[in-house]
Structures are given as C-alpha cells and as structure tokens.
Amino acid sequence: MKVIILGIGNTILSDEGVGVHAAEALRAAYTLPEGVEVIDGGTAGMELLDPLSGVDLLLVLDAVKAKRAPGTVILLVGKEVPVFFRSKLSPHQVSICDVLASLEFVGDPPKDLVLIGCEPESLELGTELTPAVAEKVPEMVAMAVAQLAARGIRLSPRKAAVEAQ
C-alpha cells in the first residue's frame, strides 16, 4: 500500500501555502507507518510524476478558492477530486491537474483520492498564514488523519505531541 499525503501551495504567498503548512503539521504530530509519505509539493508540476506513480491513496492538502468564508475547510473524496481540479478552484490546479492527467494517460492514476482544502483569506506576499486560516490547520490535519483511518491507515501521535495536549 503506497499512500502519499501531498501538501501543495506557495509558502511565500501567505494563505496560498496552507496545504504545505498542514502537511508539515501532520508530519510533526504523527509518526507515519511504512508506505505512507508526506510530500511538500510546493508549486511543482511534472517533478511530482515520479512520487505520485503507483499510488493507492493520494491525499491532497491545498488552498481552495470556492468563494466561502476564509478558513472554511472542505473535503472532497474519490471522483469529486478530478472534477474539482477541472473546475479550477485551486490556485495550482494547473500543474497538479497536469500530473493527474498524465498519470491517467499512462494508465497509472492514484486508486483513491482525497482532497482537503481551506479557503484562503489573503494571497499577499508573506510567509505567515492569516489567523483565520492558521487556526484551521489542526482541523485539516485531524480530517486527514480521520480519512486515513477510515481506509485502515492508522497514524500514531508522536510522544511529544501527546504530552503537549
């Protein structure tokens, strides 16, 4: 079983990078079982083709522009995900969409897809998230963990993270 948790976004455009921040938060809080990998995809395109090949489950964390209140977290599962990328709600749909279309064409698309997105407040230059979005990062992480658990993949909280609670 190969599982990729992919954070995408541009971390120098404030909330645009929320997907990357959420992926890093997940990596910091949990130890990953064999076969599960967290990737900081940034704004990359075709470089992701290799790590996204032969994947059983691809869980994408991203900023999502769906004209909702800043900080709104959305969840899309399975067939809804490619539709999401086609309707271009995500600022990086172009490159990730391209990678997914290429995988489709070579007959090797992810078997299962989950997308967890967060509506950004600001896309201005800056390396910090806005408070409205930053406070939703734990929710995105928890949702990711729950989605993985629903598919029989259990992450164990790191000791330090448990003690901090």
């Binding site: 995809g41 990359a44 470089e47 083709l49 290799d50 790590p51 490159s95 391209d98 489709e104």
Partner: protein, 566 residues
C-alpha cells in the same frame, strides 16, 4: 487598421503571461509581452539570515526550485569569497545537470510539442509504417510495431472516451500543422516514453537533494550530504551506482529519441527557421565549476553581439567584472517607480501600477540589459556561446543534428538556421545531449574524488561586521539566472533576482527597444487570428516560465489559453 490579438495567459501549464499583438496582412506587426503578476520575493528576504535565503528563493518558481537554491548560495558565497569543497561542487553539478535534462525533456515533449504535433491526426497513422519510419531514424529500443500499435490503441481509447485530458488545449486541425500522421503518432509514442524517462532525472535530483521538488541539501559553503563508502543512509556506493544507471538510461533517450525527434520536426517545419530570431544578442553564463573557487568551468559562457559568433567575449569566473558590471534593469515600461536603468545592487522594488499603456508601463517584469543592450538567454544563447568558445562536445552534437535535419529536409540547413523559433528547440536538444554526457563525467569525478579519501562537503561561512555584497550566477535551463545580495552585519539588506524569463519576457527597455519575446513575434505569420498558434510556437520556444519571472498565481479564467481577438 490591423487587428489586435491578446493572449492571456500564454503558457500551457505555468504562470501568467500576457502577449498582445497587432496583426495586419496575415503578419504580426507589433507585440507586447506583459507579466501580469507582481514579484516581490526580494522584500520577504530583507533582514533575514543570508544562510536561509536559498530555501525561500526556492519558492519563487514552480518549475525551477533547485536553480534558485543553487544561485542563492553562490551569491552569498561570492559575497564572502568563500570556497566550496570539490565534492560539493560535483554534487551541485549533478543536481544542476539532472534538473536541466529533466526540464528540457519535459519542455519539448510535454509543454511545447503540441504546438507542432497534431494528436488527433495520429489516429489516422499506420502503426507499422510509423515503426518503419522510426527504425530508419534511430536504433531506440521502443520504436517497434508492437509499441506503435499499442500507443495508437491507447490514444484511441482516450479520444473515444472524450478524455483528451492533458491534450485539451491543442490546436487540432490548424492549417499550420504540417506533420504526416505517422510522425504525429511517433511523437505521441515518444511523449509517453518521455513521461517515464523524465522520472529518472528526477530521481537523481531527489536522491542527491534529499527531497524533491524542493532540495534540502544545499548550504552556504557546500552541501549537507554526508559521504561514506560503507553506510546506507549516506551517499554511498549503492546510491552512486543507482544514479549511474539512471544517467545511462537518460543518455540513451536523449541521443536516440529527443535529438532525432527535434531534427525530424525541424525538417518538416523548415519554414520556421525563417521566423522568430528576435533579439540576436546572446548572453550565457559559464557553469559546472570544476574547482573550489569557480575559476574553471566545464561549460563556457559569455556574450555574442548581433549574431556574430566572432564577437564572442567570454565570462571567465564567478568574479568576472565583465559580467558583474554589465547588468542593469530598467523600469521605464514596468510597473515600478523610476525609469532609469539601475545596477541590481542598487535595484529597487517599489510598485507603481498603471493600466496597460502601449507606450508607457505595461508589465510587472523589469527590462534587463547587458551593457545597455537587450539580450536573449536560454539554450540557444548557451549553444552559440559554446560553439563560439570552441567547445568540442557542443560542436559534435550541433553538427550531427544539422546534418540529420539537412538529410531529412533534402536541403542544406546550416548554423544560420539556428537563429529562429525552431532553432531554439534544436539548441535545447543539442544542449541536453551535452549535459547528459557531462552528467556522466561529473559522476566519475565525484566517485574518483571520494575514492581518493576526500569526503569534505562543507566549509563553514563566517559573516563579518559591516557591509559586503556578492552576486551568484547559474546557467539555468531557461538561461542565465543571477541573484545579487547586499549583506549588512550578517543580515540581508538588499536582494535582487534577475531571472531568465526577465531577460526574455521583458517589456521595452530604457531606450524603448523591444525585449526578445516581443522582437521574435514580430513578422510571424498568422493564418487565423482566432487561433494564433504561430505566436504560441514562438513564445513557447523560449520555454516561458513566468511563474519564475512572476509568482505562481490564481488563474480563474476558464481555459488555460484564452484568446481575445479584437
């Protein structure tokens, strides 16, 4: 009065660039290139530790993450006049070359081939005839009948399912499409094979860089890779051998497929050797340093004025004043304050937005010049400079490629044809062949050096009190990239990035001379103003990466290329 065409955004998958053209009598008369998103990464860097700049600049661009990391550490090392251990140079060189090979293969097959290849026409091809043609051109193992039949079936399934997916934006059936069905099918087959092959280049970057797409292993003073001949967790024998295996696979593909395909496309589109020359001052930096100081390079670079290879003047070292003093940027036609050309050490990043003014400011990209002249950068500049410098491997591949084109076109095609839209594609393929050989050479140098017992990879930087400045250059896939840094008491005081797409996609300069994109589009034929494929061909031949000149941004337009004919 001619027609005005606006293409916005123009790149197939990256970034945000707007091209405006005035078309009259079936030809482009005047063109404007406009970056539509403002770039201010420099501001984020102010006050930071110079040792962290590489990790931040790596986020400027979606495609070229590694190149900014490399250039940033070079700039800070230059300010400190800090030498870099040989192993670190070799490891960086391997990353640079593997990234470049990856980038060039992806550009030709996945980002620009669809400007020349009609995918739907491939469905009319006879797979057996395709295989016969392919086998007459090259000994590549995957050119057989079974392969071509399977590709046609797969393509048919895709098209029948209404799922053109990645091919959605192509100009199918456009009158400027000239390849016979068999050549189109061959191109689709190699498109698929290239998807697989490019992964090998990416694996090299990933193993050496510890991570991809954002490498983690560079540091001001060297690299953080630990070298050992007996441990699995470090860069040891097993990993080095795996890398060599991938290099060999890449070399096979580049020489037996990529170079051949480019020659074939060039021969069928020989008329495109007449269009797209544009600015023929060529600038390229030397790269692949072979010593700790950056005074000797495997790939020469320099400047050629007005397409005269005899005028070549070399840039010789990381400290070469000829380079350092020659670069300026003007904001006269860019949405920043001021109009006078400034040296990057004195560069300013103060936005001043106006609307799109044809004769005023119309772009977020500044206009760089070399000794006051606009200059083209990228593979064509690189190849011409290397030829002018007498670089033997470049001569070998350039001669072989032009000979193949001449044989296929049944007419002599010489070096002069390189100053063109299709010439930029040929140069990129020649360049890739040179790079893939050099990848193997750098691998050998690294292995030999480790075998001598040298495992050093890092020299610790020490920042002095007071002000120091430095610049780093790197001949990136799209051309010369430079970072210019001013450091005060160990903190960044000014930082300017002059990226390849700035040189090529820039607006008019201080003297109102057009930039390379603008100049190269003028005179292009336009068969159908509603579908200006010809403009896309010329702009794509530069491999625009406006995500790089400009930040990746949200494009809420319905299609990746929206054309508005006025």
């Amino acid at each position: 009065m001619g027609q005005r065409i606006t293409i916005d955004p123009i790149t197939r998958i990256e970034g945000h660039l707007r091209i405006d053209c005035e078309v009259d009598g079936g030809k482009v008369r005047k063109a404007w290139s406009s970056g539509q998103m403002w770039r201010g990464v420099e501001l984020i860097l102010l006050g930071r530790d110079p040792r962290d700049a590489w990790a931040i600049t790596q986020r400027i661009c979606g495609v070229c993450t590694t190149v900014h990391a490399i250039t940033s550490v070079r700039a800070v090392e230059n300010a400190l006049q800090l030498e870099v251990p040989l192993n670190a140079q070799y490891i960086r060189n391997l990353i640079i070359l593997a990234h470049a090979v990856h980038d060039h293969i992806v550009h030709f097959y996945h980002l620009s081939a669809l400007d020349w290849v009609d995918v739907t026409s491939a469905l009319k091809a006879d797979p057996d005839a395709t295989a016969k043609l392919a086998e007459s051109l090259s000994s590549w193992k995957l050119n057989g009948k079974h392969e071509m039949r399977a590709v046609k079936e797969r393509l048919k399934g895709f098209v029948d399912g209404g799922q053109l997916g990645i091919f959605t934006n192509g100009y199918w059936g456009h009158p400027a499409m000239k390849l016979p069905p068999e050549v189109n099918l061959l191109a689709v087959a190699h498109y698929l094979q290239a998807l697989d092959v490019q992964r090998k280049a990416n694996k090299i970057v990933s193993i050496l860089g510890s991570k991809t797409p954002h490498i983690q292993n560079v540091a001001v003073g060297g690299v953080s890779n630990a070298i050992s001949t007996d441990s699995y967790s470090t860069l040891g024998v097993e990993r080095l051998l795996a890398i060599k295996g991938w290099i060999d696979e890449l070399a096979d593909f580049v020489k037996n497929v990529y170079l051949v395909d480019v020659a074939a496309v060039g021969a069928f589109y020989a008329d495109w050797t007449k269009y797209g020359a544009g600015v023929t001052n060529y600038l390229a930096a030397p790269d692949i340093p072979l010593d700790t100081k950056g005074t000797q390079f495997a790939l020469p670079g320099g400047y050629i004025a007005n397409r005269d290879l005899g005028s070549f003047k070399a840039i010789k070292t990381f400290n070469d004043e000829y380079w350092v003093k020659g670069v300026e940027e003007s904001s006269k036609h860019a949405w920043f304050e001021g109009s006078k050309a400034l040296h990057p050490y004195k560069g300013e990043t103060k936005p001043q937005y106006t609307d799109f003014k044809d004769d005023g400011k119309y772009s977020w990209i500044k206009s760089p010049t070399f000794y006051g002249k606009p200059a083209q950068v990228g593979p064509l500049s690189r190849v011409l400079c290397m030829l002018a410098a007498g670089h033997e491997p470049t001569k070998k591949y350039a001669t072989a490629t032009l000979d193949t084109v001449s044989a296929l076109a049944k007419a002599k095609v010489g070096l002069d044809a390189m100053h063109s839209t299709i010439g930029r594609h040929a140069a990129r393929a020649i360049d890739t062949a040179v790079q893939v050989d050099l990848l193997a050479e750098q691998w050998q140098l690294l292995v030999n050096n480790i075998a001598k017992g040298d495992v050093a990879t890092f020299n610790k930087p020490n920042f002095p009190k007071g002000e120091i400045m430095g610049q780093g250059f790197h001949e990136a896939p799209r051309g010369v990239l430079s970072h210019w840094v001013l450091i005060d008491d160990g903190k960044i005081k000014n930082y300017q990035c002059v990226v390849p797409s700035t040189w090529n996609a820039c607006p008019r300069n201080e003297k109102d001379e057009p930039g390379p994109y603008e100049a190269s589009i003028a005179d292009n034929p336009i068969a159908d103003p509603e579908r200006p494929l010809e403009v896309l061909r010329t702009v794509h031949s530069f491999d625009p990466c406006i995500a790089c000149a400009i930040h990746v941004t949200d494009t809420e337009n319905g299609s990746a290329i929206s054309v508005k004919a006025k």
